[in-house]
Symmetry: C2
Subunit: 423 residues, 2 copies
Amino acid sequence: MSVLEYMHALGQQARAAAAVLAQTPTASKNAALVAMAAAMDAARPALLAANAKDLQAGRDNGLTDAMLDRLRITDAGIDAMMEGLRQVADLQDPVGEISDMAYRPSGIQIGKMRVPLGVIGIIYESRPNVTIDAASLCLKSGNAAILRGGSEAAHSNQAIAACVTQGLLDAGLPEHAVQVVNTTDREAVGHLISMPDYVDVIVPRGGKGLIERISNDAKVPVIKHLDGNCHVYLDDEADVTKAINIAINAKTRRYGVCNAMESLLVAESRAAALLPEIAQHLREFEVELRVCDQAHALLADTSASKLVPATEDDWYTEYTAPILAIKVVADMAAAIEHINKYGSHHTDAIVTENFTKARAFMTQVDSSSVMVNASTAFADGFEYGLGAEIGISTDKIHARGPVGLQGLTSQKYVVFGDGHTRP
Amino acid sequence: MSVLEYMHALGQQARAAAAVLAQTPTASKNAALVAMAAAMDAARPALLAANAKDLQAGRDNGLTDAMLDRLRITDAGIDAMMEGLRQVADLQDPVGEISDMAYRPSGIQIGKMRVPLGVIGIIYESRPNVTIDAASLCLKSGNAAILRGGSEAAHSNQAIAACVTQGLLDAGLPEHAVQVVNTTDREAVGHLISMPDYVDVIVPRGGKGLIERISNDAKVPVIKHLDGNCHVYLDDEADVTKAINIAINAKTRRYGVCNAMESLLVAESRAAALLPEIAQHLREFEVELRVCDQAHALLADTSASKLVPATEDDWYTEYTAPILAIKVVADMAAAIEHINKYGSHHTDAIVTENFTKARAFMTQVDSSSVMVNASTAFADGFEYGLGAEIGISTDKIHARGPVGLQGLTSQKYVVFGDGHTRP
């Protein structure tokens, strides 16, 4: 069988499974999720052995320690995946939810019913736990899934897939509800994103290069997550304590995540009061500062060696590292202009006590999450109450921001009558 | 200036206008819509003269009478466009609507705010009134629009565009909020759908060929409307009067529309009781019947000459004509299987008095509108209370069914805190 034939076979099987899943009661989907966790628990030795093969191959192929770390499955990691499955089982099922039912003057009653998208293709890089995250969210939202993981994690992903299939069968669900692509041939990705008859939407998870390539080539809609170049703007009327706490938290809570602050903007009138203290704290975290001239003048005395003049490129950069760009701006209007120009429309925050400015910032900043007096670190599916997320969308259509179960569904119209005809 | 440079210039201007429109108060948008209507009223002679040029060229190029009809602007047509503008002005502004605000255990308060998509590209064929429909819906939803009409209507569209621009300027809004592409070069369409920096979404309106071509080539998301192959299923437990009224209305109200019934499915146990009477009514409307063998046996005696055995192709066909395919099916399950296989996921209805079957049909039929005891003719933005529609989406992501103002917006997250940081 050619790779094309193989992918079409997966697609046909997924389409058939999706028709069943769309009608599957919540209790059966939950039973499958719990059964998957049980299967993983029983398969610990097999999971660790499969992962050991990937790790060995990774070492042979010269993967960095960081890459090997992302690839590694531990007993604690298995516990976390099992816990994730149970958490998704506990989430409310979005499928079938009917909203906005209302009578129209014609006498018909109309509302919207939430329904699965159908078949979702997920393309991801080395972290094998994505296999479980994606499988569980797609299943709970009534969608069939075709998962294509990174070749470095091939053995691990197949071992996890065996547990997923076991869980599906134990609960009496179609075994093709979740399929993990069983070839590392790169051609498979090209087919997966080009078969609109079998796949309704693609969710790529990985580096910006991967996502741009997929978006460009796909023949089906793509829910994509590009950069997270997040900003915090400290306004003239910022409360000092809130400003400092939020700036420190947004930068230092975690460096490698997409919701970390990458640029700090400070109103000119408050720069002298706020920046030296913030820099002082950041020095303790060994954060390198890339600063505009005005900030440089304010910080030259107080800061340690890691003070570097910012270049134009810095304003565009998502560091995902202990580096922070700092710019002094004239006022909120300048901050908003900077954010909309250099930012990635992911998550941006203002710190201010001024009601009118808070409203204006919320409206004028064109990002998937806009915050007032809160740390950008909150931009996350769990924190938002979605339960889990399959990614954070920086798209404008369909879903913006953290994408949970609801983002994997859409709404159709339902119309009720008593024999109504249209005049 | 090359066509590419011209289209990029339109794109840049649209992007700049979109930033202003996103912040424009409702009252200003409404004032512009009303001013456009006034400008059209004042420009009647110019509109009719421009249209006369298009009609003459159309006749010279051998357009059919039906095509010339679609192209024609009359005084009554101008009245209708003006009324459309005023109706859109009366609609509630979706922009800025905040919903689902709730506190999370962390103490942050989170909700969703409705925001414009940005720049919308509309590609349409000969009907010049689409220029006004599209311009008004995009403006009211806070989006900039780039409109590319058919070359047959070039003079008419430019004359309408002049009124739109006048209305924008009268209300103090950016003149580039709505731009009509001023070249009939086909290359312009290729550029319009390939500039993600300037255009956020494409809405094509026209024949299936046009839409498929655009969807295939576009580098930005497309909200598309393919076939309207709509079904009515008359169940074992259908009320006779409702069944007959709905079947007649869904077929004969209008033939050329996407929500017209194209196939009638009848439960075997009721075929003898229902089909002859329905055929009798349809004969009065001179509707040709393409029927399965069972239906043929039932109708051979009663029907006139227009009774034709159906082929496999008939089940797939959107006739948009006084033709109806009829099939006798074993039961509801067979009807649903038929609809999901042959249908276009547009609008499908069941007629039944059975509660359980109504629920099952609603869930199992995968269409943008699913109806119980109501005519498919109701699938329409006005009937659904959307006020107006830019099209009916047969897509699964973002918007399904009639797309009104809300379908031209998306939701971003807004997060409020009192200095909250994430542990």
